[in-house]
Amino acid sequence: MSSNTDFEPKIIAFVCNWCTYAGADLTGTSRLKYATNVKIVRFPCTGRIDFLLLLKSFAQGADGVIVSGCHPNDCHYTSGNFHARRRWIAFRSILDLMGVDIRRIQYSWVSAAEGSKWADLVNNTVADIRALGPYAEYQKVADYLEKEGYNEEA
Amino acid sequence: MRCYQCGKCTAGCVLASDMNYPPSYLMRLLQTGTRQNMDKVLASNSIWLCLNCENCLGRCPMEIDIPKMMDYLRTQAIKENKLHPDSKPIIAFHRSFLDSVRNTGRLYEIGLVLSYKFRTFNFLQDLAIAPSMYLKGKLHLLPEKIKDRRSMKRIFAQTIENAKTVNK
């Protein structure tokens, strides 16, 4: 599986506006390079990130997901990241119970000053997901869903 | 280790002035994490003079359990056989004490003292008070023994003696 060197994972990053988005901006202004596989979706706060969005990402073909926000105590909204952290603890626990591969969701705290941490995070996550291979297990069921679903509707 | 060297333990320690290293200094030696300083600690008399009176723990702002640490260091010193001369009578006393408990289930004070004297060759010690102790009814000539002495043997076999064999 990991020998599949042609495999380019699709990874979506869900980040907060105030820390990680700004941190990724700093990666840019510092001209640090990272893999193109990751695309950033901006949220006001990690507290806003809906767990269903992560599920939908996998269903629609993502191989990995990054969720990142402000370090504890640095949240622009004081406690959004704390709420998010709890939600993730619960989410991970449920996913693990259901047998979803939780290694494919990488959580992180990246501050507005951690441009290089963001680059490292992206590169490491891409490497990790590449080693895990495509999330075929999930996507297979997703494809099945589409066919079955439409059939039923028809 | 959380010690920030305020020194409050040393300030309140009743035997700090008799120790090679007072408690706070000892904490600092441990904090460095070097083998060299660990050896210094194990070979010091501080760990043997500590009375476990717990004044230091009671007052420590960081709630560091120094007495417990001393317990550990003493076990370690015995294990590594790095013993300060001051430890000899103290260990001898403790061993004699435990021997008595192992054999009878209770402490046999005369037996303890005799055994201690054999261990230390300090035959003259306390000769002065023994007769008056006897006269005041404070010494039993025969040991009191509990019935279930087998369980004592088992407890000792599974704890302290077990630990010794492991160490060998």
């Binding site: - | 009671g58 408990v101 004070e109």
Partner: protein, 279 residues
């Protein structure tokens, strides 16, 4: 009132008078003491210094026996035993340690036994009777000496105040005595070094006695056989380290209260002290 009783080794030997006074006082206060059958030594400092599992197993056996014999509350007059039992109970709240100790003991152990010291027993079950039965008020100025093992570690024992404790003072005041505000209430007397490092005991106990004497105490009141024997039996060695020899007696709280209730000096074991008691 019926209550479990663990005398411990000292009370059967070098500190017989403590035992005698506890028993005599309990009788006078209508408290029935039920001695734990076939009790063993708590291991004292020796076990604690030499091996942790041993230091937990010995007290655990005592408590397991008490539980087995249907006792729910046990009074432990010796401060050292009291401390070992309480600390063991606390340590055995840890699942792993408890399992291991039960395995060694081959006895069931619940850990819900209530362990109290003599002061707690007198406070809880004797206070009223003492008040009404005092026949010979204890009109003396004394220094109450608590030592280490009765009050520390506070987080586990949860007894009295950690510095400047008051419970013994309250009892003494209750029988008409005056107590000193002094500095060495909870300083260490040298405890288990009595035999192995008599020199250090002489020094530490000397400091204690000197402060009490400086403040003109007529006696030192204690609730621990180790403290008593160091301050009393080792007086010769102590006085050698001091400029002026000190002759104030060291008596147990149970003896002091016993005297106030009119119990005889012999019954209270006062004749067994090295320093003559004339109170």
């Amino acid at each position: 009132m019926k209550i479990g009783f663990y005398p411990g080794c000292s009370l059967t030997g070098s500190s017989r008078e403590y035992n005698e006074s506890v028993v005599a006082l309990a009788k006078a206060l209508d408290i029935e003491l039920v001695e734990i059958k076939d009790w063993n030594c708590c291991g004292a400092t020796a076990a604690h210094v030499m091996n942790e599992e041993l230091s937990l197993s010995l007290p655990a056996r005592i408590m397991a026996m008490a539980e087995e014999q249907g006792l729910t509350e046990v009074v432990v007059p010796c401060a050292a035993c009291y401390n070992r039992l309480k600390v063991t109970q606390h340590e055995l709240e840890d699942e792993n340690k408890r399992t291991r100790v039960i395995e060694i003991l081959k006895l069931p152990y619940r850990g819900d036994l209530k362990i109290i010291n003599v002061l707690q027993m007198l406070e809880a079950y004797g206070a009223e009777n003492i008040k009404t039965r005092v026949t010979r008020p204890f009109a003396h100025k004394v220094a109450c000496y608590y030592g280490c093992l009765l009050v520390r570690p506070h987080s586990i024992l949860k007894f009295d105040r950690v510095e400047d404790p008051q419970s013994m003072d309250t009892l003494i005041k209750g029988i008409g005595g005056t107590t000193l505000d002094w500095a060495f209430k909870t300083e260490c007397c040298g405890a288990g070094f009595s035999v192995s490092r008599t020199d250090l005991v002489a020094k530490l106990s000397g400091n204690i006695l000197k402060d009490a004497a400086d403040r003109s105490a007529e006696a030192v009141i204690v609730a621990c056989p180790l403290c008593q024997s160091n301050l009393d039996m080792r007086r010769g060695a102590i006085n050698k380290t001091l400029k002026n020899p000190i002759d104030i007696p060291v008596i147990y709280i149970t003896q002091a209260i016993g005297l106030a209730l009119g119990i005889g000096a012999k019954e209270l074991g006062l004749k067994r002290h090295f320093v003559t008691v004339e109170l």
